[in-house]
Amino acid sequence: MNLPATGRSLGLLVCLQCHATVRALQVPHPRCPRCRAHLFQRKRHSLALTAALLLCAAILYVPANLLPVMYTDTIFDEERDTIMSGVLVLLHSGSWPIAVLVFIASIVVPLLKIVSLSVVLFSAWRRSPRYRTQRSELFRMVEFIGRWSMLDVYAISLLVALVQIRSLAFVAVGWGALAFAAVVVLTQFAARTFDERLLWEAPP
């Protein structure tokens, strides 16, 4: 089989910071001649790091959805909101477009991210030769939409800052919010430690 010419086969490195293509030199810690960033053939321990971060994110996804993210004390009653009950509150208050938005950003996107990164990670590990372009595009899409799941953390931060009129209403942060934010941050890091080029290695 005729393999396509790659940076590796030609002895070339590409700088991931400034995208300069550089001839690989036999020195211990090569740096990019243009922007002085570290150069490497592939990100080190990419699969292990991504897998570890992804596993932590998947575990924390459970408390992130089960624990309350926010407690609301008013003179009438005390409410505890999870991510999902927050969506239902929005739905019942008549603002369904916002409810759908929060549902997608806070529940669908994190789950989609964990599942897609697992698929991509598994196929990189197996060096599966099929659907490589689609997997590459899936990975880039996940990187692009991942940030939007921070939506609820910001909404809670503003509610906590605003609703502090002690005699009338009081909003307190729940531990679910921390677990949720950790899921978002861990999956962002998991996407960054993953080296896309591993999806294109020659099959074993």
Binding site: V14, C35, A37, L101, M150, L151, S157, A161, R197, W200
Partner: protein, 200 residues
């Protein structure tokens, strides 16, 4: 013949005769290899200055105020992070502070620091370190997500109290648009074209 290696799949491409005005994609994984030249360095500097002014406004004035039974309470951008901190969630406070205040500020200030000398065909001291810092900060600037989060929070509060939008809410919305325009005009490829232009 010069060779370009795709940073997303490692495929080697011959650098063709395409000019800087064309967008090229990797033949194998479809990642974009070269974005078209987009505006002059003057436009980028003007956008950075506009972003800096909007950033200062966004931090100086309250985002929103709520009014219930005659008492009002307002929150600022930094106040959103402080709310978490006061409730002993320093980690969440740091996350909100970094993604809404530190990130945008470093991005705007860093670009101004790099671009103003480049316009006069000079290079700022420590240019490469600042460029790498920008690449590190860029993925952690979440102003547009924060804006949407603010809308969600306001919809929820509106059920209990009267909501009064503040100056910073509008300046933050404009900052979001300005930063988007600025980011698309200062891609790493474009930046290094300006640097190479200053050396010529």
């Amino acid at each position: 013949m010069p060779v370009i290696v795709c940073p997303s799949c490692d495929l080697a491409h011959r650098a063709g005769p395409e000019r800087a005005s064309e967008r090229t994609r990797c033949a194998r994984c479809q990642a974009s290899l070269q974005r078209p030249e987009n505006g002059s360095i003057d436009t980028a500097i003007a956008l950075s200055i506009a972003a800096l002014v909007l950033f200062l406004l966004s931090n100086a004035y309250p985002l929103v105020a709520i009014e219930t039974n005659g008492s009002t309470r307002s929150a600022t951008l930094i106040g959103a992070a402080l709310g978490f901190y006061r409730q002993d969630h320093a980690g969440l406070a740091a996350l909100v502070f970094i993604t809404t205040v530190v990130g945008p500020f470093l991005q705007i200030a860093g670009l101004l620091y790099l671009l103003i000398p480049l316009r006069r065909k000079r290079q700022a001291p420590g240019q490469n370190a600042v460029f790498r810092l920008l690449a590190l900060v860029r993925p952690w600037t979440f102003i547009e997500v924060f804006m949407l989060g603010a809308v969600v929070a306001l919809v929820r509060v509106a059920a209990y109290a009267r909501v009064l939008p503040g100056v910073a809410l509008w300046s933050c919305a404009l900052l979001m648009l300005t930063l988007a325009a600025l980011t698309s005009r200062t891609s790493p490829g474009q930046f290094w074209r300006w640097v190479e232009g200053s050396e010529a």
